[in-house]
């Protein structure tokens, strides 16, 4: 009996312990489950947050526009929580205004919106640490109907500041007519989103800021002065160098620059020209005070549309280069003068001596002709120097070309006879007057005639002058000098009119020395008088014909005497129109 009782007690106790154990286990299990569920929820929330964040990030893209960022964030909020209105407030520094935007989702009263505004303004003032009430508030409300009855008062709200680079740029407000919302976790998520978004933007801004500072440092360190204006001709960029070059204040206004340039350079008109024209304007030389600048003006176009959006003006200081060029020219002119003076003396002295002795006369003649050659050479050098400096003057007048030709041919007759050659002149009767520089055209004739004589040993030289007509209308006068000399190979013709382009064969055969500059100068003179020059030859040994044209006095040219034509843009690259 006692045993049975004992057994029962043991059984009961065991069962009780089992039951207690079960309940204990169950509680433990439940707690585990609860933790799991919460973790899952948290994870889902995190994932959701991430999705929203990514979306915000994507939408923001590379925008640094605070207004746009605030707008994007406020639009994304919809997915996270419910609300009646979502509003944003941004300070627009350009217009010194506060922009308040309210998007109404559910019907609310006007008072509701006003309350939101007041709350936001208060928070905004707090954050900016300046009272902002006196500034204009630019208000825009969009969305659903506004209730007039005042049935739905503002019951819960929260403000979300958006900061970029530690600066508050705006405020987002979410408000609801239902009370008790936006407490705890919900808002924390939002703060986090706002923080992350602003961090991303801050980083982006830093990168851009760095890029910008690198660019601006490059612009600052330019040795050229730079001015950039936008399409409204407002100054957007100028470097320190421009202030230095123009001797104006640092960080000048556009007015200061225009003012410093006034009288010598109309920058406004140039900008307008550049704005309208594709590419850049040709560089212009401008003298300002004691400096000379080369000014480049070009427009900057939009990457996508190719629309002009800004104009850049560069001032390149060429004062030193100009000085050097001037020095070179002065030196050249001086040297030529110094060489000419003694040579002239020699030549004149020789001309004064008249010795009875044949032998002495022969030597004197050599001295005379040698000094003559040297004088010509020096003259050629001077002409070339002038050509290169763009200072070669051709002063055209209306005059009788045949007179000049006859006079020149006559001056060469003694040499022609000496070489036992023939010289013929064919001048068309009733030749109209030509438009040319007498002195320079004599130089041309001298050169062509002396070449013809130099390179011809047997035969004749024929000079012809005639009018050229197109469809019965006279266009110009053609002068040709034909010889029966050594001729020119076709592949040599190109070189003929270039600097020092005297042909090897010619140099050898003629046994005469010259600089080889003659035809180069000749070409330049003819071209500067609006004529053409070319040569025809049937090859070596069969003679050559040099032709050039002279414009008519009537027609394209005004019959004014002493028109001064300076060949400004003469370059050595110009190719003879052969």
């Amino acid at each position: 009996m006692e045993l049975t009782f004992g057994l029962v007690i043991v059984t009961v106790l065991g069962t009780l312990a089992g039951i207690a154990g079960y309940f204990l286990m169950r509680r433990e299990f439940k707690r585990e489950l609860e933790i799991n569920r919460r973790k899952q929820e948290e994870l889902a929330q995190k994932a959701y947050e991430m999705t929203v964040l990514k979306e915000i990030g994507d939408r923001i893209g590379y925008s640094l526009d605070a207004a746009k960022i605030v707008e994007i964030i406020s639009r994304s909020l919809e997915q996270l929580l419910s609300y009646s209105t979502v509003s944003s407030m941004i300070y627009d520094s350009e217009e010194d205004k506060i922009r308040f935007k309210c998007n109404v989702i559910e019907t609310v009263s006007q008072q509701f919106i006003n309350d939101v505004k007041v709350k936001m303004l208060a928070a905004f003032s707090e954050m900016q640490q300046v009272p902002v009430v006196d500034l204009d508030v630019d208000e825009s409300i969009s969305g659903t109907i506004v209730d007039e009855s005042g049935k739905y008062p503002l019951s819960s709200f929260f403000n979300l500041p958006i900061t970029i680079s530690g600066r508050v740029v705006g405020l987002i407000n979410v408000a609801s007519r239902n009370s008790g919302l936006y407490e705890g976790d919900d808002t924390e998520v939002l703060y986090r989103i706002a923080m992350q978004a602003s961090q991303a933007v801050t980083k982006l801004q830093e990168v851009l800021e760095n890029e910008k500072s690198r660019l601006s440092q490059a612009v600052e360190s330019l040795s050229d002065g730079l001015v950039m204006v936008n399409s409204k001709y407002q100054l957007i960029l100028s470097n320190r160098r421009i202030s230095h070059l123009l001797q104006i204040v640092e960080n000048p206004k556009l007015f200061d620059i225009v003012n410093a340039l006034s009288g010598s350079f109309d920058i406004r008109t140039k900008m307008e020209e550049a704005y309208a024209k594709e590419g850049s304007l040709p560089a212009q030389e401008v003298a300002i005070r004691d400096k000379v600048f080369q000014v480049f003006c070009s427009r900057v176009v939009d990457n996508k549309g190719g629309k002009p959006m800004a104009i850049v003006v560069l001032f390149h200081d060429i004062t030193d280069a100009k000085k050097l060029e001037r020095l070179r020219q002065d030196f050249m002119a001086m040297m030529v003068h110094e060489l000419r003076a003694p040579l002239t003396s020699i030549k004149s002295s020789v001309a004064m001596i008249n010795s009875g002795d044949v032998e002495t006369n022969k030597y004197l003649k050599t001295i005379g002709s040698t000094s003559e050659t040297m004088l010509e050479l020096v003259g050629d050098l001077l002409d070339v120097a002038k050509l290169e400096a763009g200072k070669f003057d051709v002063i055209c007048n209306a005059a009788d070309l045949s007179e000049v030709v006859v006079e020149r041919v006559d001056s060469f007759r003694p040499i022609v006879q000496e070489k036992r050659l023939q010289i013929n002149v064919n001048i068309e009767p009733d030749l109209p007057k030509g438009w040319f520089d007498k002195v320079r055209i004599k130089q041309v004739l001298n050169n062509l005639l002396s070449n013809a004589i130099k390179y011809t040993d047997v035969g004749e030289i024929t000079v012809s002058v005639k009018q050229q007509q197109v469809g019965g209308v006279p266009i110009d006068i053609l002068v040709s000098v034909a010889d029966t000399g050594i001729g020119i190979e076709e592949d040599q013709i190109e070189k003929l009119f270039s600097r020092f382009g005297q042909l090897e064969s010619g140099r050898g055969n003629a046994g005469l020395k010259s600089s080889g500059l003659g035809l180069y100068i000749t070409r330049k003179i003819v071209e500067a008088s609006d004529g053409k020059i070319w040569v025809e030859s049937r090859g070596e040994g069969s003679g050559s014909t040099f032709n050039f044209t002279v414009p008519l006095a009537q027609g394209s040219h005004k019959d004014v005497s002493d028109t001064h034509e300076t060949i400004g843009n003469f370059t050595t690259e110009k190719v003879a129109q052969a």
Partner: protein, 127 residues
């Protein structure tokens, strides 16, 4: 027989011209750039041969002074030049030079004939 003044810094050339022109029966004086204006005013020559590039005073400046003074304004001036400096020749002619000759291209004979020609052309009409 006329009185001629040569203003020329190159003594060699000046003496050649002096000799040559004297041989044509004229009285020739060579003066330096600094004395030119005073001498011409004092001597009242029939013709002046004036170099342009000189060490102290430019021929063009001398010419300007001569033309500004009514007593010397009427004296014909031939510019002597070594370099065919178009600009200075044009300037000289503008200032009232009678003409110019390129020294390097003019033989002494040609200088003499040019002088005689100029004297004839510029001589006051005889009654």
């Amino acid at each position: 027989m006329a009185k001629i003044i040569i203003v020329e810094d190159d003594a060699n050339l000046a003496s050649i011209y002096q000799q040559k022109i004297s041989s044509g029966g004229h009285e020739v004086m060579v003066v330096q750039d600094k004395d030119a204006v005073a001498q011409i005013a004092a001597q009242k020559p029939s013709l002046v041969l004036l170099d342009i590039i000189m060490p102290n005073i430019s021929g063009l400046d001398i010419l300007r002074e001569l033309k500004a003074d009514p007593t010397t304004a009427g004296v014909p001036v031939l510019l002597l030049t070594n370099v065919a400096e178009d600009a200075s020749i044009a300037r000289g002619l503008e200032l009232g030079a009678y003409g110019y000759l390129l020294k390097s291209e003019t033989t002494p004979d040609a200088v003499l004939s040019r002088v005689s020609m100029t004297l004839e052309e510029s001589a006051p009409p005889k009654p």
